[in-house]
Each structure stands twice: as C-alpha cells, then as structure tokens.
Amino acid sequence: MFRIIHKRQLSDAVFEMGVEAPAVARKARAGQFLILRVDETGERIPLTFSDWSAQEGWVRFIFMRVGATTHKLTHLEVGDELADLVGPLGRPTEVGSGRVAVVGGGVGAAVAYPVARAMCAAGDDVTVILGARNSELLILEDEFRALPLKELIVCTDDGSAGRKGLVTAPLKELCEAGALDHAMAIGPAIMMKFCAATTREFAVPTTVSLNPIMVDGTGMCGACRVSVGGETKFGCVDGPDFDGHAVDFEELMSRQRVYVDDERSADAEYSKGCSCHL
C-alpha cells in the first residue's frame, strides 16, 4: 500500500525516504506530520513531512536512527512497503509573519526546510540558521541554498562547517539588530529551549515545533501532553507548534525519557538479529 519510492542517506544516521501516499500528499502542509508503522508488530511513530507532491502522490520525511523503529526503517529499500502511514496530522505552521528567523538544529533541519519554503512562498523575509554538531551531520544545505532566502547561516559546534558555535549566537545577533518580527525554532528540546530564552529578552515572538511521545496522533490518548502557559495541551492536535516562551521544556524533556530503558532493550533485541553496524 505505502510503497517506498525513494531513499537517500544524508549522514551516518540520517535518511530521507519517499513513500507513495496520494491522499496524504494532497493535504500535506508545512509543519504537519505523519504517523507510520513499519510492520504488523511495529510502534506508531510520528515524523514530519520534509517534502511532498500532490501531483505525483508521494510524501517524504527525514529521520534519524535513534531506536528500534527508526533502525528497522533504515533497512527498508525502494519497492518495500510500510504497514501503515496516516496523515496529515497536527496544525500547519503559520506563515506570513514578515521578517523571520528559522532555526533548524540537527534533524530539525528536515522540518525547517518545508517551513522555510512555505514562508518564502508567502512572501516572508526568511533567514535560516542551520546547526549541527559537525559538518558530517549537517543536512539539506544545498536545498536551503536553492530557496530565495535572505540569508543562510550555518553553525557547527566544532567549526567544521560555517561558524563555530551554537545557533543561539546568530539568533541573538539578529534580535539585537532588531531584524526580526518572528522566530521559529525546530530541533532537540534543549535547543528550542535556549532559542526561546534568547528571543525572550528581545520580546521576539517565537514558535517551537514540539516532539512529545505520541501514540494515535489524533487526540485520543493524551500521551503527547505538554504544558504551555500553565495549561495542558495535546501536542498532536493543538500543536505541534506552540509559543516557545510559554512551553515548559523541563517537563517535555522529562516526558520524552519515560521509556528510555524499554527502548534500549527493544533496539538491543532488534539489533541482535541485524547485521548492520549502524
């Protein structure tokens, strides 16, 4: 049903995959996500659309191998099929804010790409800040360069590409210059937390794209609860985008760790029978 028609390795542990899903492709918008199951015993995992074509009937996503499900996914090839793929889920990212900085950290760049593209298409004045630990982990740089951005700023922790340092440094400079009407941060929770802390000082409204643990993705289970401004929200239907200045990041990070031990044992179990050395 959901046949894989494209696969590309972007870095050691990051892959891009394209899947036939015509109904989903017709409705996908930047910032929304899908939920897939690899096989009949698989977990439901959410991944953000990195690209899609309504005409050709496919969607793409970019994922990092972190545990059993994403590990299984790396072993699928063009022509194989996924057991399930459902979407589009969540609210699309709001565009049209004017002068915007989009910060994409690590695999968050995959989500930042369609967001930046949609903002450009809406006439926003977009600066993209791409961050990674080192040049090997930097993804989608060429794709971003092909967009009509105001500027692309690349940062790596070790200086192996672009500026040396964290994404918050250029973000702060843009804030100081009064060059931003809005900021959008997408990446690991800790990165989003620091981006939000940076822009708060300058009162630049900041959206973050949260990634709590999910099951159904339709509002039915409440696994994806996040606290925003003291209220409990469901990440899958009320988000995934929220006001970064109101999000309780400590709680988010704590809730992301609930199954750490189980996940390790699941991946160990799967890796036993697996010959790859990822």
Partner: protein
Amino acid sequence: MPELDAHERARSFDEVAVGYDADMALAEAMRCLQCANPTCIAGCPVNIDIKSFIGRIIDGDTKGGVEVLKARNALPSVCGRVCPQESQCEAACVLAKKGEPIAIGRLERYLGDSDLSCDIDSRCKPDVAAPSGKRVAVVGSGPSGLACAGELSRLGHAVTVFESLHEPGGVLVYGIPEFRLPKQVVASEVDMLREMGVEIVTDTVIGATYTLADLREELGFDAVFIGNGAGLPTFMNIPGENLNGVYSANEFLTRVNLMKAYDFPHHDTPVWRGRKVAVVGGGNVAMDSARTALRLGADEVFLVYRRTEDEMPARREETHHAREEGVQFKMLCSPSQIVGHEGFVTGMTATRMELGEPDVSGRRAPVCVLDSDFVIDCDTVIMAVGTRANPLLSATTPDLGLTARGYIVADEDGATSISGVWAGGDIVTGAATVILAMGAGKRAAAAMDRWLRVPG
C-alpha cells in the same frame, strides 16, 4: 458460566469467562419459560427476539438461532460478552424476580461464537439486496459504524468505512481488553462485513486526510454516517498530572490492547509496568484499566473512587471480577495531587469524602472531609474519569450542528444539521454502550436507505 480461576487469570490475558458448550447452553435454554408475553424483549435496546432465539437453541437449530439474532444485532458474539445484561434484557426477564434470570447474554454469545467458529462460507450471511447504485461513506469503525455499514450493505448500497487507526473496531479493539473480548472475535465480525462487500479503509482521518465535504464532493459519496466516538480523554487538572507514569485510561489501554505492549519487545510499543498502580474512576473503563495493570505484573492495584461501591457505574460482573482478582477498592477518596521524584510518580494525595445530599443525577454527592488528606504510595496513576467529543472532524465541518459540549446534534434517526449526513453512537449520546451505538447505527441506516431511495 465457567471461568478461569481468579489467581491464575489475574496474570493472563486469556478470556476470563470460558463460555458455554452445547450441553450447558441447552440446559440453560431449557430453563426459559417461552413466555406468552416475553418481557425480556423490551429490555434489549435493539429488541432482539430473545424468546425465539432461545427457542431455536432448545430445538437444536443453531443456525436458525443465529439468524434470529442477526436480524437485529450484527455482532452477537460481542454483545453477548459486553452488554450490561443485568440492567437490560436479563433484568426484564420474568425469572429475574426470583433472582434467576435466564443468562441471555451467555446464550447469545454461545450462538454468536458457534457461527464464528464456522469457516466464512458456511457462516450465517444476511441476504444482500440488489445493488442500489448508491455509495455511502461511514466515518469510524466502532460498533455504530460497523452496524450501520452492515445494514446499509444488506440493503444494497456500496459502503466504505474510513478508520483513522490502523485496525478496525473502535473501542472494541483499542479499549476493551482481550480478557473480556478477544480481538479475534472482532476481527471475524469485520471479516464478515468485508465478505458482504463492505470496504474498510484504515489509516484515514476524516477531517485531515479528507474533509467531510471531500467525501461527498470529490469522492462522490451520496451520503455519510459519522460514528467517530467520544474518544478525547479528560484529566482532573490536579498538580502532577503530567508526571511520567500518569496515563489516561485510553492511552494505557491502547498501548496494551491495540499496540500489544503486553508482548513487548516482540511488539515494539512499550508501556510503563507499575508495581503499585492507582486507577481513578468507577466505571467499566476503570475496571478494565485496573485488571489490565494486574495482568502486566503489578503487585498492588488500587481503585480510587469518590463515592461508594453502590454508586459505581461499572457493571456488577466487572467489579466482582476485579475484586476477586485482587484489585483493592479505595472508596470515598478523591485525588488532590500526584507527587513525584525526578519526573516519575511516587504517590498520590487523596482527600476522604462522605456522601451528602443527592445531586442532579439523584446520586448522593460526595463532599470533602476537612483535613483528611492522606498519601497513596504508587508509581503509576491511570485516569479513567471520562471522555469528551473529539473536535478533529467537527472543526473542519463548519455547518455541522453541535451541542455546547461538542457532541453532534442528531434526531431519533441520526439525521444531522447537514442534509445527507447522519451520526450516531457516542459522538451523539456521549459515552454509552456498545449496543446503544449499534442500535443508533442501524436506525440511521434505515433512514439513510429511505433517503437514498427517494428519486431525484
């Protein structure tokens, strides 16, 4: 009915009630007086001809009995297991006065299961009318959607069911546990619908993948039935509710039932296996959660309810089973806070309650006893305090008339504010029962059939 031993079963996901064999079914059926005025029938929300199906069992005509059942109820194996018979058909049986009503549900299950045990070609299959040329979309594959789909298909319409999850069945597959309703039973009933020509499309969220308008305008369906349930979990809004180890009953049961977390890591989905589990609530959902927690290996499971056992909405059979298996009832307690350490639950503070004056529901309202807070030591909390309407579909359907609480407004037949769109089940009534949802689906199907057959 024979049951697995309480200690043995409390650790196993096998079905608790084993079911009648032919001799037991006959013996029970023979007790039926075959009344001239069978009061039992009015006790069944879909008015199954109970006297007749029991009569068929007495005559040894199993197939005939199944036909009588199927004329009113598409899922007898399901209803025979999960209907609250003690307050419905069995309560209305003349023998109930003596405290010995006929075990109507168990006989229904016996017939339903004997049909399911046949290979699909020899199962009781309703006659399907000549194709009407009309196409109907059903949103949601819970009991209301399945009943509506089965009936419409029998009436000759081409039916497609759209389900957002990866498996059809609604609460029957994600909520009600395996030990009460084996998933194979639901799967076999769904197979029968497919055999009748119903198409079931999973992984499709109406309101996201397609809007309701798309179904009619782009996909060309002539009419739509909405049976999307009331699946949005509520929490108590007390401090500590987002600690790790706090679940909604929906999440906990979905992980275990639909995703088969009890078989982790052979199934990939994990669930937090608490040693000491507090379940908050007093309905069937709370009982199912408590009994599931035991089966996942908890040492102690507490059921925390703010009234007394008499007010508990759960079925008697379920509270009885739960107690037998070792669930500890903490009545007249209301949680006030969940406490934790490093992000994980370590306990729950509760306040003692006492019963005061009757409230609007006629039940005596619980009131707090001053300074009575105490701590329940636990590492898991499961909130089974009710559900609400899910706004996913209604939010993208501006013309759909809703109540103040977000449920769909529908008349007796299920007709909504949009011509050509019907609704039924929990999304209209609020959380109710399987048989009421099926009844609503079936009534809507009859009305839709009349509407579809009006020329022009």
